[in-house]
Amino acid sequence: MKYITGIILIVTLSSCELLFTEPQPSTTPTAIFEEAWTFADREYSFFEFKNIDWDSIYAVYQPLVNDEMTSEELFKVIADMMYELKDGHVNLRSSFDISRNWTWFLDYPANFNYDLLERNYFKEKQQFVGSFIVYDFGDVGYIRYSSFSNTISESSLNYILKKFEFHRGIIIDVRDNGGGSIMNIERLAERFTDEEVLVGRTQYKNGIGENDFSALEDVVLSPYETDNDDEEPLRFTGKVAVLTSRSCYSATNLFAAYMKNLPNVTLIGDQTGGGGGAPAFTELANGWILRVSNTATFMPDGFNIEGGVPVDVAEDMDDTAAQNGFDTILETALFLLRQ
């Protein structure tokens, strides 16, 4: 019985999983820097695509770190290091700042001015249908969707497509749309095709090695269907123009990639800003949150959309025309759809 008592005591006293957990990482600046660099090293999906030598970057930035530096100083060093990834999906978040690289749109013309549209085109005659702003040019329909974070309802799209059912074409304006939920991409895109279309391929990191990726998985866009067999699904398969700019990132970038594969769709404006990788997140030992891209998406022909989706018709907003109340990108879309 002594043995049984001893076993019971051992079992009871050792009921502490802390004996088996990994030691907590240190919160010194050098430890935090190591943790951040290591997370990116293991999880980031675009080192090869962007020709980035992450070990060399470590060698540049690590000497800048010391355990006497302040949090703000450490943040700046790690932020500058992450800036080298040139990725809008790479952010370090602290209580006092969020690191970012926005060169993918700041280095290019804005190509969108909602105020110009409001004053010179809509003139208060636009409709607000769910998350969409809708305007009827008479023969061409216009749909403005400003963020993929905004809910897309079936009833909104049914109303809009019913309204523009017999129009010559529809313009979908996603300029300045920085992304959001990928669930909303299909909800919108599926309304503009009558058949299944291969729109891309995706893969994700599945190991800590730089080239540890899963096999490519097809992304197929299926046409919209209703739950009710008696109801005809509302789709529009006439001419569609999708207006894009460099501010189109992440989910918007993916939307542009999907739509580019549809035969009735023309992308007009400036190429999208990119952001083809969904980010993975971690919490560093000091409570900061770091995220880095963890997946990669390609067009069916193998083109990596991380750098952006090229347009079919390149057009910038002309400043002089804008001063006279004309959005040249919108005008180009109207012209092409009316042909």
Binding site: S15, F20, T21, G207, T295
Partner: protein, 280 residues
């Protein structure tokens, strides 16, 4: 008219007819007898069986470390509830239990916080070993167990939700002893159980973003390790009351290794106060 030979034939025919008539009656009688015996045995078994319905609420605490997301240890307190039935016969102990608990946890640096939910369902059939010295009772046997735990850390965006789903078969050992508490002179029952799954099926996210790749495979001790212990005391409520209450401490430990870089280690503690309602 009937000669001796014919009489013999008739007698034989009569005997055979009677045999065929009486045989089913005898067989039916035997069946009825056997049925009666079985029923009597069952009644006997029920008389020797003690059965309790257990309802318990618990204060809980959990520690979680999922290295596929972060090196941080997330800890926090919460509440839990369990429902089960406990049957004891002279030769066996059967019990089944459903336990659910939730904790609100936070990282060790007080950064990201979230929620942790655990649900387990298990069934054990333990066989009581021959009489042990000093009134100790030891039972061993198999235990089937289902566990689901989900951790949600909303600030971590795409990496917010992780889960572990586990169905295992293992071995359990339970010891009992009745002891008299000094001063109050009440006889209470002390028990301690350890349950060790041997093999099972696991479903959880693999490397990278949860949901992109899911591990679903058979796992054995080695990659998969789970240990559940239960220690408690059962107090009778009153001299003339068949019911009892118990103080129970449950520890549920889980560890899984996906690859050398990524492991998940979780531990859940529940200190419960339960009512045991005697059913039989």
């Amino acid at each position: 008219m009937f000669n001796q030979y014919s009489m013999k034939i008739i007698k034989l025919a009569l005997m055979l007819s009677l045999t065929f008539l009486l045989l089913p009656m005898s067989s039916n009688a035997q069946k009825a007898e056997r049925k009666k015996e079985r029923k009597a045995k069952r009644e006997q078994k029920k008389e020797n069986q003690t059965s309790f319905l257990v309802l318990e609420s618990a204060a809980t605490y959990s520690n979680n470390q999922d290295l596929s997301t972060s090196n941080q240890l997330y800890s926090g307190a919460g509440v839990g509830f369990s429902l089960g039935e406990f049957k004891v016969t002279p030769k066996s102990i059967q019990d089944y239990e459903i336990l659910g608990l939730g904790t609100n946890f936070i990282s060790s640096q007080g950064g990201v916080s979230g929620y942790d939910f655990l649900v387990t369902m298990n069934y054990g059939h333990l066989f009581i070993l021959d009489k042990q010295p000093n009134d100790w009772q030891i039972a061993v046997g198999p235990k089937l167990d289902f566990l689901t735990q989900v951790r949600v850390l909303s600030p971590l965006g795409n990496s917010a939700t992780h889960w572990d789903g586990l169905l295992t078969l293992g071995a359990a050992t339970r010891v009992h002893k009745k002891i008299e508490l000094p001063f109050i002179h009440k006889e209470v029952q002390f028990y301690s159980e350890a349950h060790l799954p041997i093999a099972g099926y696991i479903n959880r996210p693999s490397f990278g973003l949860p949901g992109w790749e899911v591990i679903h495979q058979v796992a054995y001790i080695g990659n998969l390790f789970r240990l559940e212990t239960e220690n408690g005391i059962i107090f009778p409520i009153g001299r003339h009351n068949n019911n009892a209450f118990r103080i129970n401490y449950n520890w549920d430990f889980f560890r899984y290794r996906d690859n050398e870089a990524y492991r998940v280690i979780t531990g859940h503690h529940a200190l419960g106060f339960g009512l045991m309602v005697r059913l039989r």
